[in-house]
Symmetry: C2
Subunit: 436 residues, 2 copies
């Protein structure tokens, strides 16, 4: 069985832990069974493997998330990279074309499509597995998961099933309703549409070719900017006559706001945090290496990272987005395929960064036009190449790279490097890459 996980979103609502390069699904603040921290992506992948060990997972996502996915899941998943972000219909179509043309998946194989970040119980994945089996049997073209609603929500689309049976045909789809209409739907036994469905690969390809003009995966990839910005629900699901729905009655949460996110946290605090005994219903996540002391905090969420500090009443925290939109600041921390960088000091004509390079990884071979750089190796062993000359480096070694000097470093063991950048116009754009 093929599983396509849709991984989107820049996640400004969870600032300062999420930013342009770190989406909410990669924040490690849940706990697995052994008490180890895991992200939403790691949790969902773990749950899939537990429920459907033979599943082959492909993550459909944008360029910015590739590093985080590789760091957190390694090479166990395939990644189908969208050239730009559009909507779920082109994203799913591209992934379908990728499975056929690149991975050679047969058109009769069942494919399951699901968001990468639902916070759910194991039962969810059992329902998912059953969806895939039904799709393989082929009694209908499309099988959806319907969430049994716990309240008349205005946030979700609704599926009106034809019966109360575990598997039912679908009478109708409904857009996000107002409260009164939602109550009316609940009386009719309606289910929430959770964006999970299964079908055969050929069905996805057929729908894609009907609505977009392309021959192969490469073709669709190259012309992706012309693909319609339309959701799969709207383009396909709601128009499909031959569709069935399966029920899921367990916990189902979108951890997209601080309120829901903190409910799922393993414990009230993460990182260096001291709370006095008068604090109440307060969650603190501290990624800084200095302590946070909380006294008399009630119903609050507090989050600190290299990007900033949020101190908010829990109710108020859902209005965060416009404030973060205005913030527009330098990314102070980023996970990369090769490790991570952290901005330590910002001065007028210099910048200090900590680079962590994972064993076996290297930077691009590159140079800068307008800045000099100095590396001091803090720990680890590796090899540096400067304008074609290679040398071994270890703790205490200093490497100076004037503007124009081509350089890279390869880590034999984990390397920690203190990098000082010097110049008048320090920008991330000032970078020329070379082949080695």
């Amino acid at each position: 069985m093929q599983i396509i996980l849709l991984s989107g979103g820049s996640g400004k609502r969870l600032w300062p832990l999420s930013n342009d390069v770190r989406s909410k699904q990669f924040i490690k603040m849940l706990k697995d069974d052994r008490g180890e921290l895991e992200s939403m992506v790691m949790r969902v992948y773990r749950q899939i493997v537990e429920a459907v060990p033979y599943a082959q997972v492909t993550i459909a996502t944008g360029k910015k998330q590739v590093s985080s996915i590789k760091n957190q899941l390694g090479d166990r998943v395939r990644i189908c990279v969208e050239p730009e972000r559009r909507d779920t219909f082109p994203a799913i179509s591209l992934a379908a074309a990728y499975l056929k043309d690149v991975e050679g998946v047969g058109e009769q194989e069942p494919v399951l499509v699901c968001p990468v970040d639902p916070y759910v119980e194991a039962e969810y994945f059992q329902v998912m597995k059953r969806l895939g089996e039904l799709a393989a049997e082929g009694e209908a073209d499309l099988f959806l998961m319907g969430m049994e609603p716990t309240y008349p929500s205005e946030k979700y689309g609704y599926i009106i099933p034809g019966s109360n049976d575990p598997v039912s045909f679908v009478r109708a789809f409904r857009e996000k309703p107002d409260l009164e209409t939602a109550k009316h739907y609940l009386d009719q036994g309606a289910l929430w549409n959770g964006g999970v469905f299964a079908c055969k690969l050929e069905y996805l390809l057929e729908k894609a070719h009907q609505q977009m003009d392309f021959a192969t995966y490469k073709d669709l990839y190259n012309n992706y900017s012309k693909a319609p910005k339309i959701s799969f629900d709207y383009a396909v699901v709601e128009k499909e006559a031959n569709v069935r729905v399966l029920r899921y009655a367990g916990e189902w949460k979108d951890l997209g706001t601080w309120n829901t996110f903190t409910e799922a946290m393993g414990g009230n605090t993460l990182g260096k945090v001291v709370m006095d005994e008068t604090c109440y219903n307060t969650n603190v996540i501290n990624e800084l290496n200095i302590p946070i002391l909380c006294m008399g905090c009630k119903d609050m969420v507090i989050a600190a990272s290299g990007d900033g500090v949020l101190i908010s009443d829990k109710g108020q925290s859902s209005y965060i987005k416009p404030f973060v939109d205005k913030m527009e600041q330098q990314v102070m921390y980023a996970e990369k395929s090769w490790g991570s960088f952290t901005v330590l000091d910002v001065q007028e004509e210099s910048l200090v960064i900590r680079i962590v390079l994972l064993p076996g990884h290297s930077l691009y071979y590159h140079s800068h036009e307008h800045r000099d750089e100095v590396w001091t190796v803090m720990s680890g062993k590796g090899r540096v190449i400067l304008d074609g000359e290679e040398r071994s480096v270890g703790p205490g070694d200093v490497i100076t790279m004037p503007a124009g000097c081509k350089h890279t470093v390869f880590a034999e063991t984990e390397l920690k490097i203190n990098e000082v950048q010097l110049g008048r116009d320090i920008t991330v754009e000032d970078k020329v890459k070379y082949e080695l």
Copy 2:
């Protein structure tokens, strides 16, 4: 007129802005008439100069505060350094001996003694000036300032005056009372004892010699550890028969807690802070270079520095001390006579520090036994001495100092240096100083 300012206290109550090396009186978060930030020490000194331009100020303090005083007041004040902290009677006695023996002040000159950090109006210093004039005239031995109380406080000692005249003899002194007794004192027209008094220098010396066995300033300094731990009020003032009190009726605050401190702040925020419109009666001081976003914060004080972040209900903030006592952490930022240092990164066997060296200043000539160091000059010009060899340095220059290498740097213009320390046992104690 001589003025002795008593500067004490490690100021844990204002953590994380105050720490072992930065007392509360040196935190720059008040605003002067031109809107410039100033500390309590800077404010009091400015007010003294405005009221008594001919006053000669001496600050009696411990070693740890010398750098901060020099940075904030320069060479305009004399500093009398106590070899260790005891109490106000030995501290005032040492300062009196210092004035006579080191500065050659005449014994008939009036001396005014006052804490370094009262938050008061200009009128306070007019009363102070008048105290000094009365001491010079010599009608009594000792002249005190009595604060007109605004409520029956249990926090202050009381002076019971003989009359309601502007200058009155003192009927009695009273220790800090309970609430009922305080109310009773107020009915009698009692005044708060604010620790401000004036007398002739000979009076201070006479009292010092009566209770301590010493000949000269040097003598008292060398035997300071044997001086009694006793307050001047207790050792002298409360036993004195020939004493007068002058009234002061203006604003008088001790900015020793977050509650009183934030009341005196110039504005609700300092540093990079965004507050949404639902925040109320909240003060935020941010010394970090990342933004703090506050949403729905009510009656709170928030303070962030390189040492940590405090997030507290204002009422609760007065119970901070035991939590800070337990914190016991590395000092991440310190003002020095030569500039400042800021810890940027703490790793297992390395430490990254930003050093700012003021023009004309240099570090001690020193070496380390157990760590190597690497300097990368970020900005400014100066001269480095390495094992006796001198060279000029500027932006981008790298200086490597293996363990044992004697080194110093002299700043011609303000120097910013990135220092990487490398070794297994990095401690502030690992330092050998040399003469140049």
